[in-house]
């Protein structure tokens, strides 16, 4: 492998990891500002249904955050591996 190709790959992966970190930060802020339990005005079954939907949404966002963390770790591992080629 030519060094310039490796260097470009390292640069791309480094850039991608930074972008992922930025996106993960935005998602974390969005998750923090999402509606919480204290929804006024709902009672009984409607309250349960609304809360269940919010819980489902929270789980999806948390799942996306986990995947973003994993992807970032994998890019980090790839960069570590490429550093070994130097």
């Amino acid at each position: 492998m030519e060094p310039t190709g490796i260097a470009a790959l390292v640069a791309e992966l480094t850039d991608a990891r930074e972008r992922l970190r930025s996106i993960a930060g935005r998602v974390a802020i969005a998750a923090d500002s999402s509606p919480r339990r204290e929804a006024s005005g709902w009672e009984g079954l409607a309250s349960d249904a609304y809360q269940s939907a919010l819980d489902h949404l929270a789980r999806e966002i948390e799942g996306a955050r986990e995947l973003l963390r994993s992807a970032g770790d994998l890019f980090g591992a790839a960069l570590f591996e490429l550093a070994g080629h130097d």
Binding site: M1, G5, I6, A8, L9, E12, L13, D15, A16, R19, L20, S22, I23, R26, V27, A30, S33, S34, P35, E38, A39, S40, G41, W42, A46, Y50, A53, L54, H56, L57, E60, I61, G63, A64, L67, L68, S70, A71, G72, D73, L74, F75, A77, A78, E81, L82, H85
Partner: protein, 489 residues
């Protein structure tokens, strides 16, 4: 601006927002409306994050020349990133679905409320007709019975009938929940709407015709009010007069209001001030721009049905609810003109109680360039204000004064309502404590903290109305009744 020391808000009960737009009515707690706004913003942010992630993945598209050098971890990282983008888009869809479902259910709830209200109104109207017809047949015996009862009560207690009336008022003060409850407010609102039904029944107008007149708007709260005025005039009450105004003081003072509390604290207090001014007009001066004005109109000063010198009286209340140009209305118009408000001057009209009714009427008249109407506890439900004018209607849920004007007809008003005595004791120092301006100042403080776009959408422009002003010229105006008007309304 005047004293803007915020009253300590009672943060117990939730604020209810009633808003109409695009032909749909929404009735919800302010907190829930805020959450719907949050869901909308969340969905948009998730969509943007997913887009940014997909763009990042595209940049990592492996080129053939270095494909063999790409570590497996990088390939897996790219795959996981794509899965994350898919999950973000799924979450976006979920947020949008929740928001849409809740908005839909709120609209259905409002429709159900309207339907129930319509059915109740129809039933109540029929009942009112029956009461009227009964009064026609049994009226004299009933009146005799009532009169005899009063006289017997008077004889037994050795007190005059008027003293018995005072005793009833004291009783109502001690048992505040009788008048001060949202249930009583509902009954009053329905009675106000059905008073014509009683009259139609008394005149034995066929119930179908009475119902047709009511639903077509030929009769209703306004004609009921006018009927009361007409009846009063036959016995020397509610005498019509014109009115004049006099500027009593002018001073440069403070800064424009940036909150609803500041507006609610800016009304003149004719009952407490020595001169008894009912109108305050603040002019905001900014170089290179036309002067802007905030008009503050006080509430009813006297409930004496016999016309005196005070135009902010019971007669003006009834004239106003009846849709007429009352003496107090004439005074407000005259004060605005004398203060320099031109047809082009941007103006915000603020009114408490009768003042809110007058503010609504001035806005509805089309004479001025009205940028907003703010009312507190006003019997202004029947005033049609053009949809282009933002209207913020503040009501305490237990206040029966706004209910005396019946059901809202405004298609664009944002109504915020809050119970002030929920679960707590009702003060006994006033017959209608929920109408006191102090409690409205508390409610204003709660409204100021609203985060829903429905409320912010009308309140924020009001808070910015005076921004940039380099000077505030405040004037106070005293209105008085002048010559009697022959044959006037």
């Amino acid at each position: 601006m005047t004293d803007t020391t915020p009253p300590s808000p009672n943060h117990g009960p939730a604020l209810t927002v009633i808003a109409q737009g695009s032909g749909r009515v929404v009735i919800a707690s302010d907190a829930l409306l805020s959450q719907l706004d949050q869901l909308g913003r969340l969905a948009e942010e998730l969509r943007l994050c997913a887009g940014a992630l997909l763009a990042t993945i595209e940049l990592l598209e492996p080129r053939a020349s270095i494909a063999s050098a790409v570590p497996p971890a990088a390939i897996e990282g790219r795959r996981i990133s794509r899965a994350a983008a898919t999950t973000l888009l799924a979450a976006q869809t979920t947020a949008e679905r929740i928001e849409a479902a809740v908005r839909s259910s709120l609209a259905e709830y409002a429709e159900t409320e309207q339907l129930a209200s319509s059915v109740a109104h129809r039933l109540a109207n029929d009942l009112a007709w029956g009461i009227g017809a009964g009064a026609h047949v049994f009226g004299l015996p009933f009146a005799l019975l009532l009169g005899s009862g009063l006289l017997v009560g008077s004889a037994l207690t050795r007190q005059s009938p008027s003293v018995i009336g005072s005793a009833v008022q004291d009783y109502l003060k001690r048992h505040g929940r009788i008048l001060t409850s949202s249930g009583s407010v509902s009954v009053i609102r329905e009675l106000a709407s059905d008073a014509d039904g009683i009259g139609a029944g008394f005149l034995l107008v066929p119930p179908q015709a009475a119902s047709l007149f009511d639903s077509s708007g030929v009769t209703g709260v306004s004609s009921s009010s006018n009927a009361v005025v007409a009846a009063g005039r036959s016995i020397g009450l509610f005498e019509p007069t014109s009115a004049g105004v006099r500027k009593t003081s002018g001073f440069e003072y403070g800064s424009p209001p940036t909150s609803l509390v500041a507006r609610s604290s800016s009304f003149p207090r004719p009952d407490a001030d020595p001169n008894g001014e009912q109108i305050r007009i603040d002019r905001y001066v900014e170089a290179g721009k036309p002067d802007r004005f905030d008009v503050y109109i006080a509430g009813t000063v006297t409930f004496d049905p016999k016309t005196g010198s005070e135009p902010f009286d019971f007669a003006s209340d009834l004239n106003g609810v009846g849709g007429g140009a009352s003496a107090s209305y004439q005074a407000v118009i005259e004060a605005m003109k004398q203060a320099g408000v031109t047809p082009d001057s941007p103006v915000v009209l603020n009114g408490y109680s009768q003042g809110g009714l007058l503010a609504s009427q001035v806005a509805a008249s089309g004479q001025f360039n009205v940028h907003g109407v703010v009312t507190f506890g006003a019997p202004s439900a029947q005033v049609h204000i053009p949809a282009s004018i933002p209207v913020l209607t503040v009501r305490n849920a237990e206040d029966l004064v706004p209910a005396t004007s019946g059901y809202d007809v405004n298609p664009n008003a944002v109504v915020v309502e809050r119970p002030v005595f929920a679960g707590g004791p009702v003060p006994s120092d006033s017959t209608v404590p929920a109408h006191d301006l102090g409690y409205y100042q508390q409610t204003a403080a709660v409204v100021d903290e609203s985060t829903s776009s429905t409320v912010r959408g009308v309140l924020d422009p009001l808070n910015r109305f005076g921004s940039g002003a380099v000077r505030v010229d405040s004037t106070l105006w005293l209105a008085t009744r002048t010559a009697a008007v022959s044959g006037g309304r």
